[in-house]
């Protein structure tokens, strides 16, 4: 023990320790710089979005429909079109995603090869480039009928939403303890009743979170709508006709050379981002409470 006591005189730092310490300093600086750069860049995006978006945002931008450049037009039909298409997409995706998620968690044991196949496919669908979904729906729903339609746009969005709902539904149902299922069965409930009234009800918050996340994901999607619902300069509520949507309008207007269109594009971008962020924040808050 005596030779491990710290000598009071003539102590020199161990060169290895010094090297490790300087490596630590370098790494610390590196981490801070990287975090600083990332935060600054992201803040600059938000700042650009806010300053230019707020400049373009006005009552007219929200209340008036799209129009030719220079004619104090707005985004009203694009906003409504986006809401309609996302709503219908969720209407289609929710039952399908719930059904598939229930199948995977309640009937899809590890040994069930069909279920693991579906699970894998759902994962693949989640990472498929969204423009390919647009191409697919174009071939199935636009080319055969000979015209673009809002319904095709909704289907494309639904295809993107389903895998997210499937994944969260399955995960959330798996969190429901087996004893709950057994308790339901002990009361004599049939299996579908146990699944719907017990498991799904107790996993309600989580499943709802999945649906909201899917909503947030599809409401900003542009690429799948380009060849399906196409966009429309005028009001249209028919699902059988091309319909305007906010992201596609942003895409068309941002590249235009008219100053008022560019401003509207920024206003639209701000609206979309705020919507998506609001949904995500709502999810976070509800998750913390639940």
């Amino acid at each position: 023990m005596s030779d491990t006591t710290v000598p009071t005189t003539g102590w020199k730092p161990n060169p290895r320790a010094a090297r490790r310490r300087s490596a630590d300093h370098v790494a610390t600086a590196f981490g801070m710089v990287m975090a600083g750069i990332l935060v600054l860049v992201l803040a600059s995006i938000l700042w650009t979005l806010l300053s230019r978006g707020l400049a373009g945002l006005s009552a007219a931008a929200i209340m008036k429909p799209m129009g030719p450049p220079g004619s104090s037009s707005g985004l009203a039909n694009a906003i409504v079109g986006s809401l309609i298409q996302t709503f219908i997409a969720l209407l289609m995706a929710t039952p399908l995603g719930l059904g598939c998620g229930i199948y995977l968690s309640e009937y899809g044991a590890e040994t069930n090869r069909f279920a693991s196949c579906v699970r894998f496919v759902s994962d693949v669908l989640m990472s498929v480039p969204s423009i390919l979904v647009g191409l697919f729906v174009y071939q199935v729903m636009v080319a055969p009928f000979g015209h673009f339609s809002a319904l095709a746009g909704s289907v494309a969005l639904a295809i993107l939403a389903v895998p997210i709902i499937v994944r969260t539904t399955e995960d959330m149902l798996r969190l429901v303890p087996t004893s709950m299922r057994e308790a339901g069965a002990a009361l004599g409930a049939t299996r579908w009743r146990v699944t719907l009234s017990l498991c799904l009800r107790s996993a309600k918050t989580g499943v709802l979170t999945g649906i909201l996340l899917a909503l947030a994901r599809v409401s900003g999607e542009t690429a799948p709508l380009l060849f399906t619902s196409l966009g429309n300069q005028n009001w249209s509520f028919s699902l059988n006709k091309p319909m305007a949507s906010l992201p596609v309008t942003i895409y068309q207007y941002a590249g235009a050379s008219y100053e008022d269109w560019v401003q509207l594009a920024w206003a639209g971008a701000l609206l979309v981002t705020m919507g998506v962020l609001a949904i995500n924040i709502a999810v976070r808050v509800s998750a913390r409470r639940g």
Binding site: R20, A23, D24, A27, G31, M32, V33, M34, A35, I37, L38, V39, L42, I45, L49, R52, L96, G97, L98, C100, Y107, N112, R113, C117, V118, V121, D123, V124, L125, V128, P129, I131, L132, L135, F136, Y138, V162, P163, E182, L187, G188, A189, T190, R191, W192, R193, A216, S219, G220, T222, A223, L226, P247, Y251, A254, A265, V272, V276, L277, N280
Partner: protein
């Protein structure tokens, strides 16, 4: 309907389930009513089977959608594959006027812009995750971490617009003139920076992609780092390790598979990204080593040329064939992520 037949083990488990329910004989009438059971106790009845079939059918539909996606893309592109053979992927001509198509120009653009994006995003994401988990004061870490997670959800078109209005002018006015002025005569670098200062190109696309995938990668990496048991970290500190020692010799080896998963997932996002890239790539179907000349990627080419391709034309088929190749690329990146993750667990 053979394809709706239930898998063996599912039938077995539902049998064992109802056997279990039969074991509970003494129930009050009230509880039965609440649970919606008929008093005669026939439990493997119609509704149950119907429910099973219903959920199995929706699972099947998901399967069919992806199958249809792959098949239609392949069928639609078959004309192009037949006309140009397998060399389609490596021809560097994309000429709608002469009706000659090869995928190499957009494929090269996709691959190079993705690699640039990942190469820039990786240090950003790793450094930020390191800072967030090891250095930042808890309150600031919570705020920044949440902000980064939220930004991972921002639609890609926003990044495209930002790139178009901020990065493109910056590249055109500052970066490119600077590079041209100082490195014009350096042999190794000259051909990389060659090109008129348009501001668009692979480098700009890579930068925008990096900014887009960095928050996502940071969020995943932070989760992975935070999942490590604290005991390992504390033991290392107890042995006198510095912060960087802990990071590099304990945290990174422990979470290697998760980190690779984060990188590959970010790569997959960058591969198929359409909107963010279309704004800033310049959209010229040419092949060359210059990172600062207008180029195109698979997704941006599809987005731009698909609307002007008549149905049944060779051009449309070539675009669908491109889509098929992109599908394969994204599939391969997902499979790679799964494989790497599976190996180390």
């Amino acid at each position: 309907m053979w394809w709706l037949r239930l898998p063996d083990n599912a039938r077995f488990s539902s049998q064992s389930f109802s056997r279990m329910t039969l074991a509970t004989a003494t129930q009050t009438e009230k509880a039965r009513d609440k649970a919606g059971v008929s008093p005669n106790g026939s439990r493997r009845s119609g509704p149950d089977t119907a429910f099973h079939l219903l959920v199995a059918a929706s699972a099947l539909l998901v399967l069919v959608v992806l199958g249809g996606l792959v098949v239609l893309m392949g069928v639609g592109g078959s004309q192009a594959f037949r006309t140009f053979g397998l060399g389609f992927a490596f021809h560097d001509v994309w000429n709608p006027v002469a009706d000659l198509y090869g995928a190499w120009a957009p494929l090269f653009g996709t691959i190079v812009s993705t690699l640039i994006g990942v190469a820039i995003a990786l240090p950003l994401a790793f450094g930020t995750a390191f800072w967030l988990t090891a250095m930042a004061p808890p309150r600031i870490a919570a705020i920044v971490g949440t902000a980064v997670q939220l930004l991972a959800a921002v639609p890609s078109i926003i990044f495209g617009m930002w790139g178009f209005f901020t990065i493109v002018p910056f590249m055109a006015r500052t970066v490119q003139p600077f590079l041209t002025h100082h490195f014009k005569h350096v042999p190794g670098i000259r051909f990389i920076i060659h090109g008129a200062p348009f501001g668009t190109g692979l480098m700009t696309a890579g930068l925008v992609l990096a900014v887009m995938i960095a928050p996502f990668m940071t969020a995943v990496m932070r989760d992975v780092f935070a999942a490590m048991p604290n005991m390992l970290r504390e033991s290392a500190y107890g042995l006198g390790a510095t912060r960087w020692d802990v990071m590099w010799k304990v945290v990174v080896p422990w979470s290697r598979s998760g980190m690779i998963g984060a990188i590959v997932l970010g790569m997959g996002r960058a591969l198929g990204e359409t909107m963010a890239v279309t704004f800033v790539i310049g959209n010229v179907t040419a092949v060359g080593w210059s990172l600062f000349a207008p180029r195109s990627t698979v997704a941006s080419l599809i987005a731009l040329q698909f609307p002007e391709s008549p149905a049944g034309s060779l051009r449309l088929s070539a675009l669908l064939a491109l889509g098929f190749i992109l599908m394969l690329l994204s599939f391969a990146s997902l499979a790679l992520a799964r494989m790497l993750r599976g190996d180390t667990k």
